[in-house]
């Protein structure tokens, strides 16, 4: 009886596996491995791509998850043709495994599909009057940001705070002191950007430091809050690259994502397009206005010297500046 039951369970599973395997043989499959938030945009792009000559007959398997975990999964062997992640550092993880060329940022648009900036979300009506970086360290202000050792998005937040402090005229030492002071105001260091958003939107804290695009996607999902883009702030570049052994359809899709029409879709969903001209379109006028927020600096600024250097200086497990800051805050 038990054996029969087991058989009854196994047969449909086996059929499904074989069926799925056969279905995939029919045409080219592109495995998209992406970070969590762009899911709605990517699904729009993928369904439109199917109607183009390059995308005809191409099927997509889509995986969404935390950026760092996705990068490690690809490096460890998860099938992937396109990686769309939230920091260049995560693409470097894949490049270190030899699956992406070390010069991935020499591709068109430096391998970047869309931009965003480091921004604040405050409670509706902005009761604590938060407008810029210095307001975060006012007494009584509670800040939510993920832990930079587990979350790529928190690394942007830390570097943005430091960069803004330097741009306001502080010395290196003073700017590090500023970041330390900021972390004394952090009431929850969640493991990921989405967990931090969860913490903030479930009522904790006065300010959530996040990507502008994440804030728009939270608002689109009905969450209540007000977006503040501090001046200056850090430009976030979201890389989308094809892996070395990816089918040609993967490269075609990335080129497609850079075409003006698709860049307009990014723009209408809270992402800053890398093809700036699309912002002149009349139907994107309201978004173009939202993206005019003030000066930005990026990771290639001499304050940071690129991802690899910034990661070593700030987030090395033993010698990183952030280790010292966490010890001061936690001690």
């Amino acid at each position: 009886m038990r054996r029969l039951l087991l058989l009854a369970l196994l047969v449909p599973v086996a059929c499904a596996v074989v069926g799925a395997a056969q279905a995939h043989q029919a045409g080219t499959t592109v495995n998209l491995v992406a970070y969590s938030t762009p899911k709605p945009v990517m699904q729009k792009l993928i369904s439109r791509f199917g109607y183009t000559s390059a995308g005809n007959g191409v099927s997509f398997s889509q995986s969404y998850g935390p950026s760092g975990s996705q990068a490690r999964a690809i490096a460890a062997g998860q099938p992937a043709s396109i990686a769309f992640l939230s920091t260049g550092l995560d693409i470097d993880t894949i490049a270190d495994a030899g699956l992406v060329g070390k010069n991935w940022n020499k591709a068109p648009y430096s391998g970047i599909a869309a931009d965003s900036v480091v921004a604040f979300v405050v409670r509706p009506g902005n009761p604590k009057h938060i407008h810029g970086w210095n307001d975060l360290v006012k007494s009584g202000v509670q800040v939510v940001t993920p832990n930079p050792f587990s979350s790529g998005s928190a690394k942007w937040n830390v570097l943005a705070a430091y960069g803004a402090a330097r741009k306001s005229g502080m010395s290196d030492h003073q700017a590090v002191q500023f970041v330390t002071k900021l972390f004394k105001h952090v009431v929850s260091q969640d493991t990921s950007g989405s967990n931090a958003a969860n913490t903030f939107f479930s009522g904790k804290g006065d300010v959530l430091i996040t990507y502008e695009s994440e804030a728009y996607s939270a608002f689109a999902a009905g969450k209540q809050g007000k977006l503040i883009v501090p001046k200056p702030t850090m430009l976030i570049e979201l890389p989308m690259v094809a892996l070395k052994d990816a089918p040609s359809a993967a490269k075609a899709f990335i080129a497609y994502a850079h075409a003006p029409k698709q860049q307009a879709i990014f723009a209408a969903n809270g992402y800053r397009p890398v093809v700036k001209s699309v912002l002149k379109r009349p139907n994107l006028a309201s978004w173009a206005k939202k993206y005019k927020t003030g000066p930005t600096f990026n990771i290639r600024d001499r304050l940071f010297g690129g991802w690899l250097k910034a990661n070593r200086v700030w987030f090395d497990q033993n010698t990183g500046r952030m280790v010292g800051i966490e010890r001061v805050v936690g001690g």
Binding site: F149, S150, T191, S202, R327
Partner: protein, 281 residues
């Protein structure tokens, strides 16, 4: 088991059976040891190997990091409190479920296991909604150490209940009645008759709850706040190290957690051996 069989003089049928079935014993031992090797021994060996890959200095540096030490302290402290709470409330719950008849008992009995069925991240989300800043009942403990204990109590609740319950069901009430008829008070009956019978079950449940509490992550990531040095438990600390590309450091801290857990489990095992000695005569 084998020791007691060898000691007892009148076990001839069983010995005969064993002689006949020696081949099958060898096979079953082989199967079990292969299984244990694949699912337990190899992964733990790999973990220890990974932790020492960067050398003894790196191992020491990883585990002596003050934030790692405070995460370990917090985790063990919280786990101890949770185990004590479980021992008291788990035993009482089991007692009520077995000895008292009340309407809805079978429903309560079924509810006990729900924390096992729920993905722990959902448990964390639910507790956050209920006992967080927007608590509908006005209790806000989120992002404190209290929240850690609360979440751990939730996920470990079934262990003691489910290990004590069958013992209580089997326990003959005649012993208690005899004690009472000899003039023992209720507290004496509980202390001298009931508790010694329940202790092995309670300890088994405590061990399971302890092990679970030490390794728990899912229900804690949302509700603990994860401030290093304050509310960051060791599992979250290890996760951070893995996420920031330091698997050796993560393994080193995990090995310390594992070693300390092993010592604790052995200690409870010894205690259990001690309290069940009268059963073996």
């Amino acid at each position: 088991m084998e020791a007691s069989a060898a000691r007892a003089p009148h076990v001839r049928p069983r010995e005969a059976a064993r002689a006949g079935g020696r081949a099958s014993t060898a096979i079953s031992v082989g199967i079990i040891s292969t299984f244990l090797t694949v699912v337990v021994v190899l992964p733990i060996a790999a973990l220890v190997w990974e932790s020492h890959k960067s050398g003894a200095d790196a191992f020491w540096q990883a585990v002596s990091n003050p934030l790692a030490v405070s995460a370990l302290k917090l985790t063990f402290g919280a786990a101890f409190i949770v185990v004590l709470i479980n021992i008291v409330f788990g035993t009482v719950t089991a007692w009520v479920l077995v000895r008292d008849d009340f309407p809805g008992r079978s429903i309560v009995n079924a509810v006990i296991d729900l924390p096992f069925a729920l993905p722990t991240i959902v448990a964390g989300l639910t507790l956050l909604a209920l006992y967080g800043p927007r608590s509908p009942i006005g209790i806000d403990v989120a992002y404190t150490r209290t929240a850690i204990v609360l979440a751990l109590c939730f996920v470990t609740l079934p262990f003691v209940v489910r290990t004590v319950q069958p013992v209580l069901l089997e326990l003959d009430t005649e012993m208690e009645e005899a004690a009472r008829s000899l003039g023992a008070r209720q507290t004496t009956v509980f202390r001298r008759i009931v508790l010694p019978n329940l202790l092995p079950g309670i300890l088994s449940g405590a061990v399971l709850a302890l092990a679970r509490a030490l390794g728990e992550i899912g229900s804690l990531v949302l509700i603990a706040g994860n401030i290093p040095g304050h509310t960051q438990v060791v599992s979250v600390y290890v996760l951070n190290q893995i996420e920031s590309g330091d698997p050796s450091g993560a393994a080193a801290v995990a090995v310390v957690l594992l070693g300390a857990s092993f010592v604790l489990l052995l200690a409870v095992g010894a205690l259990r051996f001690f309290v069940t000695r009268y059963e073996r005569g």
